[in-house]
């Protein structure tokens, strides 16, 4: 591998950070789309120079962009996300039913094999697909049939913020929605069911073990073991060994099991990363110390990674899509903060450096290894 490209979405534009394989010296390009909220940028595994970006604004709505040259130039593609049929309703904050309304694209998951095929997770929660490079988007409406009338927005909106494609089973897709839970399709997105058994939301739900309604913050898998899933829930770090059919807690010795992102080491399927946050009402690290926690045992036993990270007076947050790993050896780990810092570890988390420290609040971080 000749290097890495880190794709950073922020509240006020996108930034592209590049380095050679040593991952010590960085070049920063941006802001791309200055002034717009960039919820997610992601590259196609089938063509690393094909990037997709979700650009949104409270004033001007949703715009989608595509690049064919690794983010040097961009072209607009389709921005019409129309729900299939009569959109129906979901639960509103006051318990009434509220019509589904498209607000923005939170998450993009390009196909592993086709640069023109991409899934998009949106708010109000639904999943869309394009097969023509983003020119047109079609909803997979079966997802909203999975008890959608009971879904309810969390504080950040009712967003579909995670899509995982099973590399060994083209029909299997996982999604996560706040605040509805995790869902799985085994038929390419045609039909879906909730996969939330074992999740407990004692403080958030009247029935702590309800089928839907859990505030899942992030889910991830290692591609070599797609039946093993890890989840950062609102509170609790969870694990499933049966593709979501059942979950058990692996929070172990974490100083707080509240948090947003979760990631798995590229070469070690039992090595997992989280960033503990103090609580649901205090969205910053416990004790003002920014610590990534790593488990090499698939959970329960966690080790604080602090070398190079601020250990005093640090009160930033790390959002759900703002943690990523690269595929180099040793595995690189990256995350961005609401304070605008982007940190990188070229040695699996043992030590950290600041790539850039004064960006707008970081919403998402993705990384590509470049050939």
């Amino acid at each position: 591998m000749s290097g890495v490209r880190v794709l950073v979405g922020t509240r006020k534009g996108a930034f592209i950070l590049t380095a050679d394989g040593g991952r010590k010296k960085w070049e920063i390009s941006g802001p791309h789309f200055p002034g717009w909220e960039i919820y997610h940028i992601k590259g196609s595994p089938a063509d690393p120079d094909r990037l997709y970006a979700s650009q949104s604004s409270g004033w001007f709505g949703q715009v989608m962009h595509r690049s064919n040259d690794g983010g040097v130039t961009w072209e607009t593609v389709g921005n019409e996300f129309a729900y299939e049929g009569v959109p129906g309703t979901h639960q509103w904050y006051d318990g009434t039913q509220h019509p589904w309304e498209f607000k923005r694209v939170w998450y993009l998951e390009p196909s592993a094999s086709d640069p023109d095929a991409v899934y998009a997770g949106v708010e109000d929660a639904a999943i869309f697909h394009t097969g023509d490079g983003g020119q047109t988007w079609q909803e997979l409406p079966g997802l909203r049939s999975a008890k959608g009338h009971l879904w309810q927005p969390g504080a950040g909106g009712m967003c579909l913020h995670n899509i995982l494609l099973d590399p060994s089973n083209p029909g299997r897709i996982f999604t996560a929605i706040s605040a509805a839970g995790a869902f799985r399709s085994d038929d390419g997105g045609e039909s879906w069911r909730p996969v939330n058994k074992g999740l407990k939301s004692d403080f958030e739900l009247p029935d702590p073990e309800a089928d839907v309604g859990h505030c899942v913050h992030s889910i991830t898998m290692h591609p070599s073991r797609p039946d093993v899933l890890f989840m950062q829930k609102h509170w609790d770090v969870m694990r499933s060994d049966d593709a979501g059919d059942s979950w058990y807690e692996v929070s172990g010795n974490l100083p707080s099991d509240f948090g947003f992102p979760i990631a798995v080491h590229t070469h070690e399927p039992e090595t997992v990363y989280v960033v503990p946050i103090k609580s649901d009402s205090e969205h910053y690290p416990p004790e003002g110390k920014l610590r990534v926690y790593r488990s090499r045992t698939g959970g329960n036993e966690w080790q604080a990674l602090t070398k190079g990270l601020p250990q005093v007076d640090c009160y930033v947050n790390v959002l759900r899509s703002a943690l990523a790993v690269d595929s180099l050896d040793p595995c690189g780990v990256y995350f961005g903060t609401t304070g605008g810092q982007v940190y990188a570890s070229p040695d699996s988390g043992d030590s950290w450096m600041t790539i850039v420290r004064d960006l707008p609040a970081v919403l998402s971080v993705e990384v590509q290894a470049l050939p």
């Binding site: 002034g35 004033w59 715009v63």
Partner: protein, 98 residues
């Protein structure tokens, strides 16, 4: 020709200058001007009004001749000064704090 002044984000998105001109064949209304604008610059579809319902986005305003026309019906005629090109229709991102 009808003159239309765009907010910064939208003229950058469309790759044009701050002011553009559009041709409107029928009655000069906000709806007709937006139809012509979106036909000339398809990238603006969905950014000023909803794709399907054609409702104005909540934080978009339409000003002309020192008047706020945002709450006029989309098919209401625009002022004569806009029709003659002496004054532009201004599409504005509303003040929204932050």
């Amino acid at each position: 020709m009808i003159r239309v002044v765009l907010p910064t984000h939208l003229w950058r998105l469309a790759g044009v200058g701050r002011e553009v001109e559009v041709q409107v064949e029928a009655a000069v209304t906000i709806a007709a001007v937006l139809d012509a604008l979106e036909a000339s610059y398809p990238v603006l579809r969905g950014t000023i009004r909803d794709h399907t319902t054609k409702e104005r986005r909540a934080f978009i305003r339409f000003f002309a001749c020192q008047e706020d026309l945002s709450h006029e019906l989309p098919d209401a005629p625009l002022p004569e000064a806009v029709v003659t090109g002496d004054e532009p229709l201004r599409i504005v991102g509303a003040m929204a704090g932050g």
